[in-house]
Symmetry: C2
């Protein structure tokens, strides 16, 4: 039995592949309405920051993995102490939990990063801005996602509220980039690793809205170097399971790493319909130390478009319309209550005409959100 | 909520697609260990031949469909009387439940069938054999599957036990055929229909062991005529959901219909990895009267190989080995206790080299069964 801590959509999307492989899941959910809890028979509700709750949950599990990276280190270490395999390990996970630790480690590995510094005072921030130029990207080292915990500042004054807390912040140069790419890899405890093709993650307001797989017109050398970097990071950090490395492609060539995530990732949702092995199947195989599956794409292009909530709470009539309009559309809904702007699902399309796939994906997402009505 | 009567592997394989489409399932299971009951949160246990049990089960369902065709007609009619949509309807299902009714109906539609007759006595059987030649295929009109309920007899004497019951039997000529093919279609209550490519179902001892999709070197005219026949049958009989038509390809050209099934079917398991829309997704879409999805194959060839149980009860070490040997292998296990000869899963492989896919699929199935050990 694989125990997943966190009942969000990532845990939910592990359920279908677990059925096929006859792997039993148990999911520790935040609420009875958690996305994964609705579809997995064993879905206890509990607080993942509480050691006793987590240890109790883990008692019947052969391995523990995660829907998110927010389980505190002390809880993780208590888990490991019980002898249950935990993948990824707390030692690896810290680099996805703490962006300062991540920058330090990647820099020591000579992985290209934006210029960065740990800043706790206005003076330190001013010095960083003077050296690397304004605006500066400020990040809280822990807890951020989807653009939250990130502030673009043009002066130390604009960061006054954040600096007032006295905690170290991560300051990064605002990189001038061509586009954002992501490299998704998986690594098992035995050390086997596999990588999907590098994808283009199209961002709007700091949120990934669309993924093009593979990234169009990507220089093969850049793809190779980025993939090598991701595999090296996964190996050196001892990552187990799926790991996503988000990067910026630079105008002068090359790349710098933006973020790391150690779990199935939005940039990999295309694999559910576009690859022989989906990221969710690969994650389960990896954390169970089963041999990894082929990441080969099944078709020339796959386009994944995120679906955000709009005003309509009942999506059924909407997706009925879309199914009639486009029989090739693969709709994935997370079972979450619709709230404006909340990620509630995604759609995948595969084929040979990239522009056409993108247009159809965009239409379907907009239609589900309610911003287009035909 | 879609209610499925019967907790076998066909109901089980509906669960993954229900997750993606955010459709809630409830499955009336034979036992707490039923294949589907292990993976669906709502899985009451009850007797599908008991009217009260079935009506109670159906109370919260928006539509009722089936894992198998064995629900008695009186139970089906009691269900319909409550107003809940039942797909396929009892009026359609009778032609999958009763082979005599099926032969009569197809013959009246001028669908090609083997020569057949209803026989209750040795004299009638002798007359049929004299006209159409021996051996004669005898079938119990109801209850047969996977070669059960079928007897090949060379004289009325060999059928003495069966004839002793006094019930009418279906006598059919033993057709001399080139190969067995299957046509899988889906039809919704609104009348929309879709067909997958015609496949070759390779049979061993009356059990389908392998499916080649699409059927290699099939004459396009035969494919078109067989598909047209299946769609016409689905339409005329008012079939809703997935329907499989098994046919014999004749040496002189053309085909005759062997069997009809009104549910997802073993001959369609290749669609889980080989088609844009799997038969399980299509069945759910059809019974909910949602628009049907594209049956387009994703790759040139898909080979499905059935996995039978062997001596090993624990498949995990076995499939671990196979995953290492063949990263492209898609393993589907049904969560059933292993018994020698029992269908416990299947494997799918997709690609461009048919002979290679077949060899790899055969090896994987044999290895899981334990008949090869390398």
């Amino acid at each position: 039995m694989v125990g997943i801590i966190g009942g969000g959509q990532l845990a939910r999307m592990c359920a279908p592949v677990a059925v096929n492989l006859d792997i039993t899941l148990s999911v520790l959910c935040e609420t009875p309405e958690s996305a994964a809890g609705l579809v997995v028979p064993s879905a206890p509700v509990g607080d993942y920051t509480d050691v006793d709750t987590v240890l109790e949950f883990a008692r019947d599990c052969d391995v523990i993995t995660f829907d998110h990276e927010h389980v505190p280190q002390d809880v993780l270490h208590a888990l490991v102490a019980t002898g249950v395999p935990v993948h990824p390990s707390p030692e690896a996970l810290v680099f996805a939990q703490n962006k300062l630790a991540m920058r330090e480690r990647l820099t020591s590995m000579a992985i290209p990063c934006p210029a960065w510094a740990s800043v706790s005072t206005a003076e330190q921030l001013a010095a960083f801005g003077a050296e690397h130029g304004w605006p500066v990207v400020l990040k809280t080292p822990t807890g951020g996602y989807d653009g939250k915990g990130v502030l673009l500042v043009s002066s130390p004054q604009e960061a006054a509220d954040w600096l007032a807390h006295g905690e170290p912040l991560l300051a990064e140069e605002a990189v001038d980039f061509l586009r954002e790419l992501a490299v998704l890899v998986a690594r098992s405890p035995s050390g086997q690793a596999a990588a999907w093709p590098v994808v283009h993650t199209v961002q709007t307001d700091g949120i990934c809205t669309e993924v093009l797989a593979p990234a169009p017109q990507l220089v093969p050398d850049l793809a190779a170097r980025a993939t090598e970097a991701a595999l090296r990071i996964a190996g050196d950090l001892g990552v187990t399971g799926v790991m996503a490395m988000e990067i910026f492609e630079l105008p002068e060539g090359g790349f710098v790493v933006n973020e790391l995530a150690m779990r199935p990732h939005n940039s990999g949702h295309w694999t559910m319909d576009g690859s022989v092995t989906s990221q969710f199947e690969q994650h389960l195989r990896a954390v169970l130390d089963l041999p990894l599956g082929s990441p080969r794409p099944r078709e020339q292009w796959t386009v994944m478009t995120n679906v955000l909530g709009g005003q309509d709470e009942d999506l059924y009539p909407t997706y009925r319309h879309l199914m009639a309009r486009d029989p090739e559309l693969k709709i994935h809904l997370y079972g979450k209550a619709v709230r404006p702007g909340r990620k509630i699902g995604h759609v995948n399309l595969t084929g040979t005409d990239l522009a056409d796939l993108r247009e159809r994906g965009r239409h379907a997402a907009d239609y589900l959100e309610g911003t287009v009505r035909e």
